[in-house]
Symmetry: D2
Subunit: 308 residues, 4 copies
Amino acid sequence: MLDKPDYKQIIKEIEVELKSIVSEGKVANYIPELAKVDPNKFAFHISSIDGENYGFGDLDEKFSIQSIAKVFSLTLAYKLNGEDIWKRVGVEPSGNPFNSLIQIEQENGIPRNPLINSGALVISDILYDTLSNPKVDLLNFIREITDNHDIEYNIKVANSEKKTGFRNSALINLMRSFGNINSDINDILDFYFHLCSVEMTVKELSKAFLLYTNHGKLLTNDKEIITSTMAKRINAIMHSCGFYDEAGEFSFKVGLPGKSGVGGGIAAIYPGKYSVAVWSPKLNSKGNSYLGMKALQLLTAKTKRSIF
Amino acid sequence: MLDKPDYKQIIKEIEVELKSIVSEGKVANYIPELAKVDPNKFAFHISSIDGENYGFGDLDEKFSIQSIAKVFSLTLAYKLNGEDIWKRVGVEPSGNPFNSLIQIEQENGIPRNPLINSGALVISDILYDTLSNPKVDLLNFIREITDNHDIEYNIKVANSEKKTGFRNSALINLMRSFGNINSDINDILDFYFHLCSVEMTVKELSKAFLLYTNHGKLLTNDKEIITSTMAKRINAIMHSCGFYDEAGEFSFKVGLPGKSGVGGGIAAIYPGKYSVAVWSPKLNSKGNSYLGMKALQLLTAKTKRSIF
Amino acid sequence: MLDKPDYKQIIKEIEVELKSIVSEGKVANYIPELAKVDPNKFAFHISSIDGENYGFGDLDEKFSIQSIAKVFSLTLAYKLNGEDIWKRVGVEPSGNPFNSLIQIEQENGIPRNPLINSGALVISDILYDTLSNPKVDLLNFIREITDNHDIEYNIKVANSEKKTGFRNSALINLMRSFGNINSDINDILDFYFHLCSVEMTVKELSKAFLLYTNHGKLLTNDKEIITSTMAKRINAIMHSCGFYDEAGEFSFKVGLPGKSGVGGGIAAIYPGKYSVAVWSPKLNSKGNSYLGMKALQLLTAKTKRSIF
Amino acid sequence: MLDKPDYKQIIKEIEVELKSIVSEGKVANYIPELAKVDPNKFAFHISSIDGENYGFGDLDEKFSIQSIAKVFSLTLAYKLNGEDIWKRVGVEPSGNPFNSLIQIEQENGIPRNPLINSGALVISDILYDTLSNPKVDLLNFIREITDNHDIEYNIKVANSEKKTGFRNSALINLMRSFGNINSDINDILDFYFHLCSVEMTVKELSKAFLLYTNHGKLLTNDKEIITSTMAKRINAIMHSCGFYDEAGEFSFKVGLPGKSGVGGGIAAIYPGKYSVAVWSPKLNSKGNSYLGMKALQLLTAKTKRSIF
């Protein structure tokens, strides 16, 4: 077995090597509020299960985690409703863009997985039914696993998405026509856009993902948030479905379960070892952070270990 | 970190528990020669990287490994041609049945990955161009990594597939129309059907897959067959694409990279720990061994560890 | 050339023969208000360009013409905006169900033709932009070509559709995401559901369709509503696209341009000869009136002439 | 009713007007032998049911009628096998390119209609089963309806297609996998490629199509080749499906049933009035003759009549 990697040294090397890479990506512009972000922001942070923490760049700057938050809503819905959620959403990669309606129409309103937009909307509908105070309860859950009461929705971003979210509106209406949405469509969209507007720093994000590294328990107090089987399954879904139609490529080049967002963030984990978060707003053609992918590729190459 | 599992004890428990599960699957009948197999055959074998070997059932009976052999042809093509092979085949899950033509037509003749039929046909075409004596050289390669000169093609099975392989014929002609097949179509089909006809016991199969457990080196003599990066990438592809449109389900329930075949075999690995092979001819509706999936699910549940 | 058919005699024969045919269809139930209609209603009416009028059944009963009204809105939009409308909607059969979203996603938000739901929504958006008082102006136009100021929207039906029209809502949101809808989505849906709620008797409907029989001029006063080229083109579109994914079958068996609605109505024309309307609420599996199709098949068989 | 048009004068006008139109099309290059044709060839010929014949251009030059011949094989198969043929092929427009495999896979091997490649292959299979000497009998049938024993296959063209016909080979293998092809695949492909290689002049072609103008009877001797119902139905299919995924556009702009071929030919008819053939090898992006479409558009505009 390999020795434990020297994370501190490796992070330094990554910082140096990334300087020579020019990002070819573009900032997402379909959400007007997101298009305002400085495209040259960059931050990288790793949190090991042994309590080591290293990072560089804009470590203390909040950014819009967008779809990464879908992992948190999935976790809460799974925790509260158990295996029943899989009656309404699958666990297979979609092989299609994140906002495609085609499979929803062909597969009777059942989304392929909970991390594409359609699936996250169904999870939102499930949570909306389950929680007494959906927006507050969800935010409190995210605060608990991050151990940080400072986490907030960005109302401006949520509203910006609401104004331009026609594709999501199409998706939820289509699923409703198949009977896979129960609550009022506008309520669910509002809830969903709030979820996507959550802001974190890379420090906070890597800390939050330690839950998945640590098999479902909080590292700080050993509290079991979800069972180890649930954690394992969420990790498997992140691995199969966390990067839109580039999940295979991420698995091939990086080899870690993770989730990206159009805000330019990526969170990933090595089960039992570490979690890592990176932020760089310029996206590649598949909607994943260009430099973020490169940084994580360097990480698993330099640590000489991935889950494979 | 968890203690090392007691494989011997766990295998015994799996043997007992499987007896109470009635297979709901059906033997594949589209290849006449395969339809003749006894549906109640069963074998399970695990090979640890420390040299432990345990199993039960029809351990010494050869069966048709079918699509599992695609991992071997991919390995040889990758070894000989390096990253160039990815110009002609992708690394993404297909989200479609294993023999679908739809994506090939929509994506200009480039198969989604090398483990679906279309992708394996392209890999066969690459090998046919590269090898001086394709059928002999490929068999010798498989014999080398299995450390067993007893491995053979089953000519009857190869011929049986040739007579009924209209779907594969459609796939290769379609890819040829896009310029992604170079050699004579009948030669490639003949080569491909031979590949799929390879026969092994579960003992031999789990031994052969130790190559992927052991990061590309043979365990017997430490010879590097492929680099550790190549091994990692093949494992990632097996994980994303090894179970047709049930890859997500396998990842979700089992959590190991692997590959199934319509002969009822499944091979899977835990990188750095063990490889495992199981054989039960009755298939579920997705074309994967019904009891094989159950057995592997028990294995990762009982060992309390998967890659996630 | 054949003699002019004896319409009166032929209609009598059709009446007799239809009595021996048991409708295998089912009343549309996705619009609750429509599901209340008596399934055994039947009416048939023919209006020749020479002023002959024959019919039988529930001739004076109003029914919901539903999608047949899309021909009227197309006519008005074409009249007011000319060939510009074809930048936003095509003239090809869709080969897909009437409410499918798949082609909209694949073809950048441009509907295949103006007679499927998506295309009629775009036409509604065009009219909404063009008319000063959309609902009133459209109704007045329909009244003019029917020469009957008695035509009304059925507000109950319009509201019933609004409550359950999730699929149409999905379609319009999807097209909006591609920039092919300009006005407020709820306004357009309201306008569209009113259009579909128009009620007529078969007498009124066959009279209204004389406009298309008569190359764009009103028969009563020779006023040109649209040019003969426009009339010819609308007829061509009705023929290619008027019966959802059964257009070929209708052309094959009947051989007239026409349009059906889920209320069980069908209107069809023989250019230069006659127009015909039929109503029978039970629909076949493609959404077209079961007995209506049979009646029109008898008509062209007995008159020994169709456009082919 | 309009007076009978002065065809002679109209043809002269078309000849003049076409001179000012520059063809934007390209000669088909996927069949090497066809790519050799002079792109500037042009011929136009009309045959009225009253025995009038007018034309201009390369009237006596044979060209490869390609897919137009599918109308003749359909006619013979329908004549010999009656309505049974519709169990194996539909009558709906495909809404997809002529050589697409997607619908074949989605619709269990049943082609949408007999005028796309897949449907014509099924018709070829039916004829091959029915005829005692398929290639000879089919050619004799075409000779009979053309009243010309001079019609021949072009063996060079047939062989050229055979060498490059991978897409057709994919189609027929796919349909065979669904059980919708009975005879040997190579025999059917050979028969089909011969069919497509038939050569005619525009004079011969317009004469052959008088059969469909004349409701199934030969104009020369009044012999009934097919019933008037069959003729009507073939005309309906030509109208819905004769121009690949541009059938709606042709109906919209021209308004006649017809069939095009990649050799640059188009044949069309006005039932009861005339048939017309045009040849110009440069094709538009949908695979139909660029100038041929323009010429027919002028014809129905100038005669002020179409079937609509």
